[in-house]
């Protein structure tokens, strides 16, 4: 969001509070009407999307200063974008982008990111991952029997979380691609953090450096398609990178690839998986994974105070997120029953981990996860499934904290089961902080 638009938009919140709820017409119960984890936990209005816009305006007007209190409120937000979906139902405001821009301003003022986030930013700079793990160990997840093709035009970008924490997902994705005969390679030591955890804290300068480094590497290898199993990496490459620098390769999430492979019968799911699952839409695979579209139209002042855009400006409402592919996969798994939670697709409730919250406010992350887990339990499912290693980590941490009877699987693990292959039993059950 450029400065001019930011200055216009921060003045336009009407404090209607729709940002606190999922779209009004989608509310099916009192219990699951809410959209915003931050205000659900902390209750004060400034924690909501609209509340942060008001804070942004007050800051621009010099009514408030960059203090730790302000920083804490602004950073107690997973940038899930649910407020934006609800607001943009009818308004042209962009709450999520305002929050992101506000964080940039706080960083510029020396009032952000949070110390814990700064620590992982330093780790990324030093060892190319926010977990502060040795870079050399990034590829330790690879079992010996995975086939890689150094000449492949398809690159599997594993991501930090799958490489170091959720190895079972990386292994599952690789095995599936092998099973389907998809020739792919990985970057090995040339894979670095995508920059998502940094971008979301407002440190856009560091993010730009990482972006350029990553694109230089990938473009130098003549890659045609990059496949991601992490929603965060996928969203960052697909949506955020092109805002700074265009590239020529395609990006796909593994759910998109696997759905295609299943449809074309390159993958045959024959094994019975008799479970009832509910699918959690990751924010970065769903509502936030919608590209920005260029707009070259005109703003036509129809009359004083009223202008219209001709043609209409594209609005990212979350409608173009990846919702059908994972569900189509699940529906194709023999014996598997899919039940939906109340809050799904573009108005799905966040897992609670994103935008640095897992590291800076772990209690908020766990509380949010537990809310989502309760919703999963209420759906009647016995398994919670998703397609993001970061959601996986936080939701499983929440399950443990809650002693939930639910099991968690990544969608790739269920595909492995349906292929008759064993999912990797390398799940690390300890609570994780980046």
């Amino acid at each position: 969001m450029d400065e001019k638009e930011y200055q216009k938009m921060v003045k336009r919140c009407v404090r209607c509070s729709v940002c606190k709820w999922i779209p009004q017409v989608q509310i099916k119960s009192q219990k699951y009407a809410s959209a915003c984890p931050a205000i659900d936990i902390y209750n004060y209005h400034p924690y909501s999307g609209g509340g942060k816009i008001i804070l942004a305006l007050a800051y621009e007007m010099g009514r408030i200063k960059p203090t730790d209190e302000l920083r804490d409120i602004v950073y107690k937000c997973t940038e899930c974008g649910n407020c934006a979906v609800s607001c943009k139902y009818m308004s042209p405001l962009e709450p999520l982008e305002i929050i992101m821009k506000f964080r940039e301003k706080l960083v510029d003022a020396g009032c952000g990111p949070m110390p814990q986030q700064q620590a992982y930013i330093e780790a990324v700079k030093k060892v190319n991952n926010p977990y502060n793990e040795p870079h050399e160990k990034r590829t330790n997840w690879i079992p010996d029997d995975i086939n890689l093709d150094p000449n492949a035009k398809v690159l599997y970008y594993v991501g930090c979380t799958s490489s170091y924490r959720r190895k079972e997902m990386a292994i599952a994705a690789a095995r599936i691609m092998n099973e389907a005969g998809v020739s792919f390679n990985i970057l090995q030591d040339d894979e670095f953090c995508c920059g998502s955890p940094i971008l979301r804290t407002g440190d856009t300068n560091t993010f730009e450096e990482i972006l350029n480094k990553n694109l230089d590497v990938i473009e130098s290898k003549g890659i045609e398609t990059v496949v991601f199993s992490c929603a965060g990496c996928y969203d960052t490459f697909k949506v955020d990178y092109p805002l700074s620098r265009k590239y020529n390769f395609k990006v796909k999430h593994t759910v998109e690839l696997f759905a295609e492979l299943i449809e074309s019968e390159q993958l045959k799911l024959t094994n019975n998986v008799p479970i009832t699952v509910t699918y959690h839409d990751p924010c970065h695979l769903g509502r936030n994974a919608e590209r920005y579209e260029d707009w070259d139209g005109d703003t036509v002042p129809l009359m004083p105070l009223v202008s219209i855009n001709i043609p209409p400006k594209p609005k990212r409402t979350g409608s173009k997120g990846i919702y059908d592919a994972p569900r189509n996969i699940l529906k194709k798994i023999p014996g598997l029953k899919l039940v939906e939670m109340e809050r799904i697709q573009e108005y799905a409730y966040c897992c609670g981990a994103g935008a640095g919250v897992k590291s800076a406010f772990p209690e908020m992350a766990i509380k949010t996860a537990k809310t989502r887990i309760e919703e999963a339990e209420d759906s009647g499912a016995d398994v919670l499934v998703s397609a993001c290693p970061f959601c996986s980590t936080n939701l499983q941490d929440g399950m443990m904290d809650k002693n939930s009877k639910l099991k968690y699987y990544d969608i790739s693990e269920l595909i492995l089961m349906a292929l008759g292959l064993e999912p990797e039993k390398l799940k690390q059950a300890i609570a994780e902080v980046a």
Binding site: V14, Q26, A33, I39, A58, R63, I64
Partner: protein, 527 residues
């Protein structure tokens, strides 16, 4: 910031984490919609911030609210209660105040299916309550402000006309038992809730003389007479099949339209015929929605952006549009209602453009049922507020609308409010034509100082016109200045109102900025 002693006392009541007197929090709570032109009308800077309260407190129970109110009396600190908080009447009128954000009081206490009422706390939104009552085949009244607004706030404290008012009435008339923390800190239980034996929520009146009129007055006291912590509201049969399924993605969801629902948009061509049509249709008691609105507004309710509004030019030329929605639970009921509509339309020579010249998105019907139509008012300029607000006969409402047109056009010519040709209006029937409500939504740009000033001047002139031309009492006669101005013309009601305030709030701690203060003959200006 609060003095240490007072802060400590509040902390002991609600817990340290549920009170914040810092600059950040209090500034954020000082902001609200329309505060900019309210400030202008009070000769202050037209900014969207009110006086900054000293603290924000989040109580979780009636007992906590009571203790806070008692402490406010002790320290002579004013309090302003808010829940979902939409609108400038949620703002404090002085810096010597605390805001009670009732967000933590969010229970649906009871849904009594047999006796048709629900009991709610302040932070239950209309949509939440409707979603729960639908499970029993029941419905609630939601104000035009929208389903995200607090049911309790609308019922106890602020206006309450709604699109479904033909069937679900007006918030003030749906109030049953009420739990009310008076400004002194006493708890008053209204109606059957106040019975010594077998108290319950089913009636809002008695025992003895009803105090509902004091609670509501003309449009509610907007936190000027204490805090309402629980209210029972009437429930109604849900008008059609309760299956509420939306597919697709935001914003244009695909709603599975229930079998027995139908919309009519007709042009009555002139106000005389509109009045006749409204009364005639409502006589038949078949409408779920029966609203007159301007041609611009008709375009707007079918649009989700200003750009998509242009596609609806077909309605732009309607002179006196009327929207009617009928809904039924059985085919027999539906056939009957359609037949009646058909008969009445023939009698009145009305033609329905729905299904002929225009077919709305299915989402329109979801929004009718969820009372989300009012939200479309924001798509033109991002800001709007209503002048007028009459609650009277159809004839008077329409006369007020007609008289308003040249006044509005004057401000349109100045370029300070958006051009809806002066006709911007929304009028609904209450309880099948029992009486009517009319307000004149006016679109301004809250970020444009000239527009804000123009809006303020227009509101003032509109109020004055209502007084001098005997057009009934508008919504926003609130605060000492306006009550002192209007009172002498209306049998000095303001003196009685002031007496009520003095009696109920001897220490003047319930923020009266949008109500009336207790100073005898004096004016308590908003700071």
């Amino acid at each position: 910031m609060l003095e240490k002693e007072i802060l400590k006392e509040f902390q002991e009541i609600v817990g340290v984490e549920n009170i914040d007197d810092g600059e950040i929090m209090t500034n954020a709570y000082a902001y609200n919609w329309c505060t900019e032109f309210v400030n202008y009308m009070e000769e202050k800077d037209p900014i969207p911030f009110s006086p900054i309260p000293k603290a924000v407190i989040l109580p979780s129970s009636t007992e906590e609210v009571q203790k806070i109110v008692q402490s406010c009396n002790k320290y002579r600190v004013k309090f302003k209660a808010q829940s979902t908080g939409l609108g400038p009447w949620n703002q404090p009128s002085t810096e010597n105040s605390v805001i009670l954000d009732l967000r933590r009081m969010n229970k649906i206490v009871k849904i009594d299916v047999k006796n048709l009422y629900a009991v709610v706390e302040p932070y239950v939104s209309g949509a939440q309550l409707q979603a729960e009552t639908m499970k029993y085949g029941l419905n609630i009244h939601m104000p035009g402000a929208g389903p995200m607004a607090s049911t309790l706030a609308s019922h106890t404290s602020m206006a309450g006309p709604g699109f479904t008012s033909p069937q679900t009435g007006y918030s003030a008339r749906n109030v049953l038992g009420t739990e009310w923390i008076l400004p002194t800190g006493e708890i008053l239980r209204l109606g059957s809730l106040g019975l010594k034996n077998e108290s319950d929520w089913y009636s809002g009146d008695g025992p003895g003389p009803s105090l509902r009129g004091i609670m509501r007055g003309w449009v509610g006291t907007k936190s000027g007479l204490g805090v309402f912590t629980r209210v029972a509201t009437k429930l109604f049969p849900y008008p059609c099949d309760t299956k509420f399924v939306l597919n697709g993605h935001s914003p244009i969801y695909d709603f599975k339209i229930p079998n027995y629902i139908r919309a009519y948009v007709m042009d009555c061509n002139n106000f005389k015929h509109l009045e006749k049509s409204l009364i005639r249709i409502e006589e038949e008691e078949i409408a779920f929605i029966c609203s007159h609105m301007s041609s611009y507004a008709i375009m707007a309710i079918f649009s989700y952006s200003i750009e998509s509004l242009i596609d609806k030019m077909a309605f732009g030329g309607m002179k006196s549009p009327l929207l009617v929605v009928i809904a039924a639970r059985t085919k027999r009921e539906f056939d009957y209602k359609q037949k009646v509509m058909s008969h009445v339309m023939k009698e009145l020579n009305l033609i329905n453009i729905i299904g002929t010249r225009y077919e709305p998105e299915s989402l329109f019907y979801a929004e009718c049922l969820r009372t989300n139509l009012g939200y479309h008012g924001f798509i033109a300029t991002g800001g709007f507020q209503s002048a007028k607000g009459q609650c009277d006969s159809a004839a008077l409402c329409l006369r007020a609308e007609m008289k308003n047109i040249p006044l509005k056009q004057k401000y349109i010519e100045k370029g300070v409010i958006a051009n809806d040709f002066g006709e911007g209006a929304w009028m609904t029937s209450y309880e099948s034509g029992h009486f009517f409500h009319m307000e004149a939504p006016t679109f301004f740009d809250q970020t444009n100082v000239e527009s804000v000033k123009g809006m303020g001047e227009y509101m003032e002139e509109s109020n004055q016109m209502d007084l001098l031309k005997h057009l009934g009492v508008p919504f926003f006669i609130e605060g000492d200045k306006l009550h002192n101005h209007w009172g002498p013309h209306l049998m000095n009601y303001h003196k009685w109102l002031r007496k009520i305030k003095e009696t109920f709030d001897p220490n003047g701690v319930s923020d009266s900025g949008f109500y009336i203060s207790g100073n005898e003959g004096g004016i308590e200006k908003r700071e």
